[in-house]
């Protein structure tokens, strides 16, 4: 059974199509294994080698990976929700209620999106604290720390803009209060609030602007920053590993 599967796999690897996609021969040496990683768009930013101790649970608690997985969950469920949601009044609130009570599995998707969002804020903060207390912001990781801070801000802005979209009382007052905080900025505060809301009150313009920020602009920033963040982890020499991790003692 195993041999027939392996020979089938071998035959597949000999085909012209497979060779045109992967180009490399079998990854049976360290060099060809490295080339297999470098030659793959989805893997090329990953390290070809990692230290075993950086894979231990307490090196990272996989908090960055958890944040990223939650982001992907949010990306997918968010696109699903967009199929039923109109960013307009009064449709927005009704669409949200339809998702809860009418659309098949709508409540599951909505709650998955909502809970993953709460969890992502939690995971990103925990990730940041964990990196901070391990000294992960120290050279050569300073630049990536700053990228991480930007990612925290993007996460919070995503959370905040998404909060308005159900268009219920909670959303309305949260955004009223939040945009009034913005208008406390010296000199430009009221102008920034006007631009953000597209008016003087939290109305349809504000809903549409927050929607565009939430589904296009901020996710785009997040993807670019996540790309830089992951890439720099490898370029900066992998995770911060403390000497005490070496012998397995805390």
């Amino acid at each position: 059974m195993a041999t027939s599967f392996q020979s089938a796999l071998q035959n597949l690897r000999e085909t012209k199509v497979w060779k045109s996609i992967f180009r490399r021969g079998p990854a049976n040496t360290n060099r060809t294994r490295s080339l297999a990683i470098f030659g793959n768009l989805f893997l090329h930013w990953m390290p070809v080698k990692v230290r075993e101790k950086s894979l231990r649970m307490r090196a990272s608690y996989y908090l960055g990976s958890i944040s990223f997985i939650l982001f992907i969950v949010l990306f997918v469920t968010g696109i699903f929700l967009m199929f039923y949601y109109h960013p307009a009044a009064p449709n927005a609130y009704r669409d949200m209620k339809d998702l809860q009570f009418v659309v098949s599995n709508g409540v599951f998707l909505r709650n998955l999106h909502r809970l993953a969002a709460h969890l992502m804020v939690f995971a990103v903060f925990w990730h940041m604290f964990h990196v901070f207390y391990r000294g992960g912001y120290k050279p050569p990781h300073e630049f990536n720390w700053v990228v991480g801070v930007l990612l925290l801000l993007v996460t919070l802005f995503l959370s905040y803009t998404g909060y308005l979209l159900p268009w219920d009382q909670l959303a309305f007052w949260a955004v009223t209060v939040g945009t009034n905080i913005i208008s406390a900025m010296p000199f430009i505060g009221h102008k920034v609030r006007f631009l953000l809301l597209g008016g003087n009150i939290v109305g349809e313009n504000a809903l549409l602007r927050f929607y565009v920020l939430h589904i296009v602009i901020l996710p785009l920033f997040a993807f670019v920053l996540i790309g830089i963040h992951f890439w720099r982890v490898q370029k900066d020499g992998g995770l911060t590993v403390k000497p005490k991790d070496e012998d397995g003692k805390e």
Binding site: V177, N200, I201
Partner: protein
């Protein structure tokens, strides 16, 4: 001519300068960067204009509050749609904003305590708008209030007036 051409191809710092010591490459670079800079600033300006709406479909900021006889003396009436208190005291009428000056929550009139209280962060005001407690930085503003020809109260929420300006009826 041949020297100039060579300079622009190689970009050598020792290229033959023009009469005022600027190479053709430097000159073109500065002109191009300058033009791009001006175009960039212009783009920022027109983008800013684009994102500032010229017409707003928001509720009118001027409204009629009904006949003045509707309001007894020593009364505070909350108009929910307009988020305004119409206060009638012996000295006259005034219109006080119901929007808390802290973060924009809608305050509530508490007749038992004779205060206007904000449910969000605990600010408290007198019916005259004077702040007596809480994080609110300013008193509640008074809006311009007048009488129409047919005896109705007219409030303009865009005009903030001094608390001493009271409408006598």
């Amino acid at each position: 001519m041949s020297d100039d051409k060579k300079a622009s191809v190689t970009g050598s710092p020792h290229a033959v300068p023009g009469s005022n010591g600027v190479t053709r490459r430097d000159f073109l670079n500065e002109i191009t960067m300058g033009a791009l800079g001006i175009a960039g600033l212009g783009s920022v300006a027109v983008t800013y204009q684009y994102f500032s709406p010229n017409v707003l479909f928001e509720p009118s900021t001027t409204f009629r509050a009904g006949n003045s006889d509707l309001y007894p003396v020593h009364s505070v009436t909350f108009l929910q749609d307009q988020q305004v208190y119409i206060v009638r005291m012996p000295e006259g009428f005034y219109a006080v904003s119901a929007v808390c000056t802290h973060l924009g929550c809608i305050t509530q009139w508490k007749p038992d305590a004779d205060v206007i209280a904000c449910p969000c962060h605990g600010s408290k005001f007198r019916p005259s708008g004077v702040k007596i407690a809480g994080p609110a930085p300013r008193p509640l503003p008074h809006f311009a209030i007048s009488l129409t020809a047919d005896g109705e109260l007219l409030v303009d929420k865009l005009q903030i007036i001094k608390p001493s300006e009271v409408l006598k009826v």
